[in-house]
């Protein structure tokens, strides 16, 4: 595939993730969609690392993105469990107050 086609694939993955974030109400489903977005970004970075002057810097950047994605999932699940404990549900529309 040409670099532009791979760019379109990454774009599609990114947009599918955005769609998921916009349509879901369950907090864990939103977290799953965020992972899709990050994968789209990573795929594009690897594409640029392979095919443009960006070079191996792209791969280093992807390593940091993967690290931060793991941290984001861990903290996200901790926060979601906290919301669950105070509200008994994890519907993001219901979580309106900061002081639970």
């Amino acid at each position: 595939m040409s670099p532009f086609e791979i760019f379109l694939l990454a774009d599609a993955l990114f947009v599918i993730g955005i769609f998921g974030v916009l349509t879901r109400k369950n907090a864990i489903a939103i977290l799953i969609s965020v992972e899709l977005i990050l994968n789209g970004v990573n795929l594009n970075l690897i594409n640029f690392a392979r095919n443009t002057a960006l070079g191996a810097k792209g791969q280093v950047f992807v390593l940091f993105v993967i690290l931060l994605a793991a941290l984001e999932a861990a903290l996200g699940i901790a926060i979601i469990l906290g919301i669950y404990r105070s509200l008994k549900k994890i519907d993001v529309d219901e979580a309106r107050v900061l002081r639970g």
Binding site: A12, L22, I28, I32, N51, V62
Partner: protein, 165 residues
């Protein structure tokens, strides 16, 4: 068409179909397992782009770590046992329109960019080069990452403990 291109097209179809299933499925456990296929196909795509270190990290961290955390999250919020694990997508049409507009915006930007940018396959950079870069030019973000790991470890433990009555 080379074998590599055929493989890339098969992987792209797999990525897009499983990603669409992830966002449309009402059953969260099924969505998580579809995400499993997406992550594996993306890892395979990294291999076709000669980024084997990243492919390994993708499988180790995403498939082995994040996906398991998400499944734990689904099982630990007992909606799974009591109420229902279903979470149907809502507001589909406005979201679809916004997503399509975003897709074409990124498409246009990418089209212009690829028009002026010269793309050529770069020389292969293996794990050795990335390791040298991480410990020379990128030593500050590397160390900052370890600090962030510590902070998140403590933060997750503090957030998820129970209050003492």
């Amino acid at each position: 068409m080379t074998v590599l291109a055929v493989l890339q097209y098969i992987l792209s179809v797999m990525i897009v179909l499983s990603a669409v299933y992830v966002v449309l499925s009402g059953n969260l456990v099924r969505a998580a397992f579809a995400l499993f296929f997406t992550l594996f196909a993306v890892a395979g795509f990294y291999l076709t782009l000669k980024a084997e270190l990243i492919a390994g990290f993708q499988i180790l961290v995403y498939v082995g770590g994040i996906l398991i955390i998400i499944l734990f999250g689904i099982m630990l919020t007992p909606e799974y046992f009591k109420i229902r694990v279903f979470s149907e997508p809502v507001r589909i049409f406005p979201a679809a329109i916004i997503s399509l507009i975003l897709f074409f915006a990124v498409y246009v930007v990418g089209y212009e960019m690829f028009y002026i940018m010269n793309t050529a396959e770069q020389p292969y950079t293996g794990t050795y080069d990335i390791g040298v870069m991480l410990l020379s030019n990128y030593i500050l973000p590397f160390e900052a990452a370890s600090l962030v790991l510590l902070v998140v470890l403590i933060g997750a433990a503090v957030l998820s403990r129970r209050e003492v009555k």
